[in-house]
Amino acid sequence: MGHLACRREGSGHVLDLSGCRWVDPAHLVGVAAVAARHAGAGTRLRVIGPSRADQRRYAARMHLGRVLDDLGVAHDLVDVVPEADRVLDLLEVRRVTTEADALALARLVHGRTAAGDPVAAEALFTGVAELAANVADHAQAPGYVAAQVLPAAGCVRFAVADGGLGLRQTLAGRGARGARHALHLALDGTSRLADPTRGVGLVTVVHEVGRLRGSLFLASGTAAVRASGSAAPGRAVRVDSALRSPFGGTLVEAVVGVRGARSPERVP
């Protein structure tokens, strides 16, 4: 997460991934969300890609450069990658602004995983649909989604981020006393809206992730928490941490165990 911090450069800012030893979907959607935030505010941002060749190639494969181009953000990533190298890239970085976007991306991920593990595919559908829909409903900013198959670990990792209001501000009217408290309120099922049927999405995703031997990382502002370890509702173990560099918005990354986690066939 530290690599998502920006430093000033003249009249603009730089987001520097050059020291990043490992890039995953959370980094990619985090960079996209930060870039969208700058683009929305009309402030100049330049993104420096990872120095390591394999990580640089991965960021390019996941079309981060293309997303930054669309936002008008300067960068040094190339985007010429043979499609044959992309078989494990379940979902390259995609923008989400509406519930319809969320559903389309959830369908895509489900379609690419259902043949190998229908149970995990259903959990991934719920995860992507709910987390992406939260962006559309609450963030007041565009969000980004990405997903990756990790065959060696037998899992799928997916991430959703936005550069919007952040959980502390979103839940201020529901009693959030600070960044960390806001994260726990959200994980307990507290929504911005008082409707008792609200707030089920994140709670269900944490439950599904626990059921499939996974974990969920949630970060917003200066706080982060990882929930893992139990399939029983409300029994997940939570570990808090503090972010040295605040994330202005909300970032969620989840890891889900997938049977076989074989390479998905590409869908045109």
Partner: protein, 96 residues
């Protein structure tokens, strides 16, 4: 009144659109949620259907052939509303 669900449903907006399409008064009505084609449904979608239909005073929301996970989302939403009695789940979907 019948709401026929497609293979994948998610989001409160989609639930609103399907409920809004129903012709007639929901108050006192029997509303059937036909899940025969459903493969995956999100908890927010389930919550919104339950909230809209039961909140409008329907006599019963009868759910047919729902996959287990979606049925659990519906039950959870009805419980949160304190209204499990008017949600009736029948005929579980045959396992694949």
């Amino acid at each position: 009144m019948i709401i026929e669900l497609p293979s994948m449903v998610a989001g409160r907006g989609m639930a609103d659109a399907l409920v809004d399409r129903l012709a007639g008064e929901l108050g006192g009505a029997l509303v059937v949620l036909d899940c025969r084609h459903l493969v995956a449904g999100s908890p927010s979608f389930a919550a919104q259907v339950v909230s809209r239909v039961l909140g409008a005073g329907a006599a019963e929301l009868r759910v047919e052939a729902a996959p287990d996970a979606f049925a659990a989302h519906l039950r959870e939403a009805a419980s949160r509303l304190g209204d499990r009695e008017r949600l009736v789940l029948s005929e579980p979907a045959p396992s694949a």
